[in-house]
Subunit: 420 residues, 2 copies
């Protein structure tokens, strides 16, 4: 079983956007047992698409086309597919309803051109697009599957998760199954090479399996891939690798797979029936935004203050003018007073705070760009810890946000706060 991806879009060819759709699809299809062997990116150009479709029908079990499904003049995927498969377009009333509803929900009059979105090839299956107006299309010919999806990432992903992966599972994969198991351990607070050193002899940990280190400003994801002929054995092997990794770097692992630090923390706070507030200076709202991104977070997240100027630190959070004068805004004392201030203001059980020099300017020798104090406060203790996150403003803000949440997670779980 193997698959091919065809991405349609000039914006990828001229380097305006990075092909993240292909990465997502590559990863999902690999896990599903239909690994991608070829990715092709072309523009909205009929002859090139036709020749890629021929190659797809001849050589690949599954082909996924993304992009070129919009209603405007530069979108050619649907008409080309119709010609390639000698098909014809018919109106799908259910899709039309849905397109109309999307516009009426947003209180916008539907431009006439969108009726086109409801025209689908007669001899194909419609792939429902809950989040957008362009339906997906699925052709099946001689056991080969060719699917066309919109290029908008969140629409495409929802269609993969809700329809395509279950469809492949039940239609293609049940006969000739190789078991591919994958698990990603999410770490934060330690760099790639330090994790690598802590793990030590990789071979003795993973055996024949694969372990990939995927670093970002948020932390390093460790992806384990195991292959086998029997499901239980493959799963067992995966579990054993996870146990060995947790023995060596357990305290840096905050979650697995699709977890996020804010989701993990939300679950803990909800279980404890406790509440949280945040006072952000250098992170400017990113921590708050992460917390709010979790549905239902209003149960435990009371709110926050982005006290970007000193005046706000004093007026809203009650940081003492004296403290700011004596120690400066980026200091242990200020971070602590910010955390205590927001906790009192909101009457929350826990609070965290950040104050730092995000850069690129504003640093000086004893307080260089990248210095961030992270404060913590609960009913028993308040403290702050300093970190140096480097000179890039964006990376800095992302690292500081993660570190503040990680300190909170460790405090909630009563784990040690050492990041070595």
């Amino acid at each position: 079983m193997k698959s091919k991806l065809i991405s349609i879009g000039d914006e990828i060819l001229i380097g305006q956007i990075v092909n993240t759709n292909a990465s997502y699809l590559g990863e999902r299809l690999y896990s599903a047992g239909v690994p991608v062997e070829k990715i092709v990116v072309i523009g909205d150009e009929e002859s090139m698409l036709i020749s890629e479709l021929e190659d797809a029908l001849n050589n690949y079990d599954v082909t996924i086309i993304t992009g070129g499904l919009g209603p405007t003049h530069d979108d050619i995927t649907k008409p080309v597919l119709v010609r390639f498969f000698n098909d014809e377009l018919v109106k799908d009333e259910k899709v039309l309803e849905h397109v109309k509803k999307i516009f009426s929900d947003r209180k916008i009059e539907m431009p006439e051109i969108n009726v086109e979105q409801a025209m689908v090839p007669k001899n194909s299956k419609v792939i429902w697009n809950e989040l957008g107006t362009a339906p997906g299309i699925l052709f099946e010919r001689n056991g080969r599957i060719i699917m066309s999806l919109p290029g908008v990432p969140y629409e495409m992903k929802a269609m993969m998760e809700n329809f395509i992966l279950p469809y492949l599972e039940s239609n293609l994969l049940k006969e000739n199954k190789i078991f591919l198991k994958q698990k990603t351990l999410l770490t934060t607070g330690l760099g790639e090479s330090s994790l690598f050193e802590k793990i030590g002899d990789i071979k003795s940990v993973i055996g024949e399996a694969k372990l990939a280190f995927l670093p970002s400003a948020e932390g390093v994801r460790l992806r384990i891939n195991v292959k086998g002929e029997r499901e239980t054995e493959t799963q067992k092997q995966l579990n054993e690798i996870e146990i060995k990794l947790r023995e060596k770097i357990g305290k840096f692992i905050y979650g697995v797979n699709e977890d996020s630090l804010e989701k993990v923390i939300g679950k803990i706070l909800r279980d404890m029936k406790k509440t949280l507030s945040v006072a952000e200076s250098c992170t400017g709202g990113m921590i708050s935004q992460k917390l709010v991104s979790i549905p239902g977070s209003s149960d435990y997240y009371l709110g926050g203050v982005c006290s970007y100027s000193n005046k706000e630190k004093i007026n809203i959070l009650g940081v003492k003018e004296e403290t700011l004068k004596k120690y400066g805004a980026v200091s242990e004392a200020t971070a602590i007073e910010m955390a205590e201030g927001v906790r009192k203001l909101t009457k929350s059980d826990y609070s965290i705070s950040t104050t730092g020099i995000a850069g690129p300017d504003g640093g000086f020798p004893e307080k260089p760009v990248g210095l961030v104090w992270i404060g913590y406060s609960d009913s028993e203790i308040s403290f702050a810890i300093d970190f140096s996150f480097g000179s890039n403003r964006e990376i800095n803000i992302r690292r500081a946000s993660m570190r503040a949440l990680e300190i909170l997670r460790r405090k909630l779980l009563k784990t040690d706060l050492n990041f070595k």
Copy 2:
């Protein structure tokens, strides 16, 4: 003149890394007048590479292969190229020196396997790799150029900038130079199909040029591409298209190319020497975070309050309990009181606020998920406008953040607030 990219690497196929090399190359080759028409990603697999090389020699002026040049067993690019071109490997003493020096500089003994790096095809040009051990290789046959570069991004980029782009300029492009000009207009507040309708007869606006619609939750980017034989004329044509588009959809355009709404607003506020504060409920800190992402934003952004619960709306922002009781948290009155509250609290010149039902739960018939009130306040006027942003929580938050900033931009520029 057109080009093709071949990326070699399993890690791209399984979605472990995103193909950023292709974006970089796409952009550089486009600007250099050799636009990429096809990108292919394959694994370390001889037969697939051979067939891509045949396609390259038959159809493209320039082909760049990245990856698969390492010294280990799974790197096949060099041996396959040697077979494909009926060539043979010879030792390059200068490259060997360089490889040895790289190891001695890092005080590491050179593993014997690295001698292989200095073996290059006899009938090719070596592309010097100052930063790494794998040299690039350039074949030229019947006016077609095929180059092989390492996959390590910074090595590859240095080789492009220092050797390949100058080489293409002097060897290929001086005779048949075509000028390619590109500009992207950034819009927000109106969907793809509505913009399309407003523009009307596309042909009369763009002539032979290309216009691409690139939608996201933040808005629609309109990319104009113009091609011509003389530089001034091509630039003039681009300017004329921009003017025509601005006549039709000008008020939705907040910037061009690499602009962002927060950057544009920052510039206006700085020029006006005015200050801003933000009160966020449903957007939870995203607006604040966008503002803070701009270096130097502390000059005009005073801070914000993420009043995620009613208590915080009352305690911190001074929203009246009566207002919340009578109209609810998601209401015109609350949005206005939030904006006025944060403006008074921070003594800023301007303020914006958001309160809405982000979803997926929490909606009811007269206040469905996606309903967001956006408030605005300055020393002369306070008001709020309601929008319906649909049912997806993440999209909702992103749309509401953009819309609040766009309302502020229009007020600062005294443009009308109509989003139709």
